[in-house]
Amino acid sequence: MEIPYTVKPRPDTGLYNAKIGIWLFLASEVMLFGALFSSYILLRVGAPDGFWPDVPTAWPHGLLNVPLGTFNTAVLITSSMTVMMAWTALKENNFAKFRKFMTVTLLCAVLFLCIKGYEYNDKFTHYVIRLKDGSALTGHLEINGSSPRFWTEDTLAAKKLESVEVLQDIPTVLRYPSGFKHEEVAHEPGEHHIKREIKTADIQSLRPFVPATGTFFAIYFTMTFLHALHIIGGVLVMGYMTFVGGGMWKTEPERYTNRIESVGLFWHFVDLVWIFLFPVMYLL
């Protein structure tokens, strides 16, 4: 039995069935991400005023790499453009050009994931250290020339380290809204970190920047990882359609074009989500 309306539009909707399907899916995705954005705002406006990490429950500012995030935004926007260029190439009956544009799209997607992975790794090696005197600081640990991931105060105890070297972050005026007091850290102009040795006995707690460390990290990792999963899904489908499933172009070109159009719609949605995620997570 032939599947109806894979090429021609249904008379009642005016669209072919795959397009209706992808739009319904995207509508459900709006609900999913809408709920997560709503949760973010609830947590964000509910956080008490103050300077994090001095006030442990305050909302952290400036922990994410804005230039990298901006670059990643440009990468995703470019991929959204090239997927349209690829679809237009199919409309011109130019499969070679289509493949070229789809390859660029896939490369952009992989680049986005690599940059995100780099950012994640930076968070896993970044720590908030609370000292027994009540003060707190953030920075990277330096153990034998490398930055360990996911350590806690228990790790320090297990390794029987007497002290640790920390590359302490220097807060800047830009990073933190004015009006919040924080401890001044003596440093040379232009310096972003200072090396400091801290005795293990003075450390109350050591936590990496992971979801369990606070509500900001929880919502950041939840939303960006869910978005990254969508990117991975898009890469798999686009890669399959371009290189493995390309044979359909010879037998059913219009149906193939429709499939690419549906994939493109999904990809634009992924781009849309990031357009909102970027300012919300990186800039606010």
Partner: protein, 122 residues
């Protein structure tokens, strides 16, 4: 993207009820992409303006992305096509706005002196 029920010609591509040449189409997509990147850069620059209200800061930081998202929806996803099904899909937009607005509204509606309970501190 329009329905692929149109014949495959190298002259025109049917989009949003209009017929444009592929070259013209590419120009539209390129212009949208450049505008989006400009919007992203402006959003980053707007970070330097520190507003007093958290709610206002969030609302402003979402304005430029909203413009950018509208361009994607209108020109890349072709929601400008006047089809009833798109109008029904567009209902997700007020839903999204409501999801954003409700927590902001509730935050602005707190009694004076009210403080949230202490959060979990690791």
């Amino acid at each position: 993207m329009s329905d692929a029920t149109h014949t495959h010609t190298s002259e025109t591509v049917a989009v949003s009820g209009h017929h444009r040449t592929p070259g013209e189409e590419r120009k539209v997509y390129f212009t949208v992409a450049v505008t989006q990147i400009v919007c992203a850069v402006l959003t980053v620059l707007a970070r330097y303006w520190q507003l007093d209200s958290t709610a206002l800061t969030i609302a402003f930081a979402l304005l430029l992305p909203c413009i950018s998202a509208s361009l994607v929806a209108c020109y890349l996803m072709h929601m400008l096509e006047r089809k009833a099904v798109y109008m029904s899909m567009a209902l997700t937009i007020p839903f999204f706005i409501a999801m954003i607005a409700l927590p902001l509204w509730s935050d602005g509606n707190r009694p004076k002196g009210y403080h949230h309970a202490t959060h979990y501190v690791p």
